[in-house]
Amino acid sequence: MGSRLFISIALISFSALSAANDFGADSQAAFLSADQAFVADVWMDGEQATVAWQIAPGYYLYGHALAFELDGATLQASIPAGEPYRDEHFGDVSIYRDQLFVALPPEAARGTLTVHYQGCADAGLCYPPTQRSFTLPPP
């Protein structure tokens, strides 16, 4: 009886101790890292390179922040129409959710491709402008 009582009280006290350590800790939404929220990849179909993003639910990319360079020279890519979005600072812009595919011009078949992008989470966090580089054609 005595030992059972001791074990019960010890378990309760241990639980209380664990809870105490969590008490007051900051509560905030668990955000993904930028690389998890916006997974960028590139592939070739013949000589046609396409950049693709998989965008996590609850996150979006800004269209006006998309930019592409090949060996340091700006590429004019055809970016599909996105979801209209009214931003107090940027004005009328487009955003992209779920996935985005951008076909690059034919000259972007060989070299170092750098893609620039930036996005936010609906829950109230924005990631800094990010860039990723890819070797074309992909290995």
Partner: protein, 174 residues
């Protein structure tokens, strides 16, 4: 005899639990005192260097933000209101903009920011955020430091004025 041993163990565990609870209430995320936190000296928009040590006796709220960050901009009117309400004696907000200086200056003037706005261009600002405990590297990021050096709030993502106010250390009766 056995009963006494049981009671003694219970008393020790209860005391440890109470101590842990007290400590966690004082230091929500158990960060070290301000002496161990990074400091900085960054020029404000007028070119004057500002450090968190310039405000002894006040709670300092460091708000990392940028003009390109909508949730950051949404916070700023609340920060202005809090600085108005508590800035005299209890609170000093420091806005650290990770952004282009000219854009920040235009925005701060237009919105009427009533606390020092410091600008860090390039990656150094994100390194400073990391040093203050940012995990994600996104904005906004707020860190509140009480006058005794304890971190009272460390929050990535949008935070409300009520949340900030609830973490302020105010004299009894306020």
């Amino acid at each position: 005899m056995k009963t006494w041993i049981v009671l003694l163990v219970i008393a020790v565990i209860a005391a440890a639990g109470g101590f842990a609870l007290q400590q966690s209430m004082q230091a929500p995320d158990a960060l070290p005192a301000q002496a161990a936190l990074p400091s900085f000296s960054i020029a404000d928009l007028g070119g004057e260097p500002v450090t968190p040590d310039d405000f002894p006796g006040k709670t300092v709220l460091i708000n990392f933000w940028a003009t390109w960050c909508p949730p950051c901009r949404d916070e700023i009117p609340e920060l202005i209101a809090l600085q108005d309400k508590y800035g005299e004696d209890h609170l000093q907000i420091l806005g650290i903009a990770l952004d282009d200086r000219a854009r920040v200056a235009e925005y701060a003037a237009r919105i009427g920011m009533n606390y020092p706005v410091l600008v860090v261009e390039g990656a150094d600002g994100f390194d400073l955020m990391d040093a203050y405990g940012a995990q994600i590297g996104g904005l906004p990021f707020n860190v509140m430091i009480h006058p005794d050096g304890r971190v009272a709030l460390r929050h990535e993502g949008a935070v409300t004025g009520d949340e900030i106010e609830s973490r302020l250390k105010l004299p009894t009766g306020m």
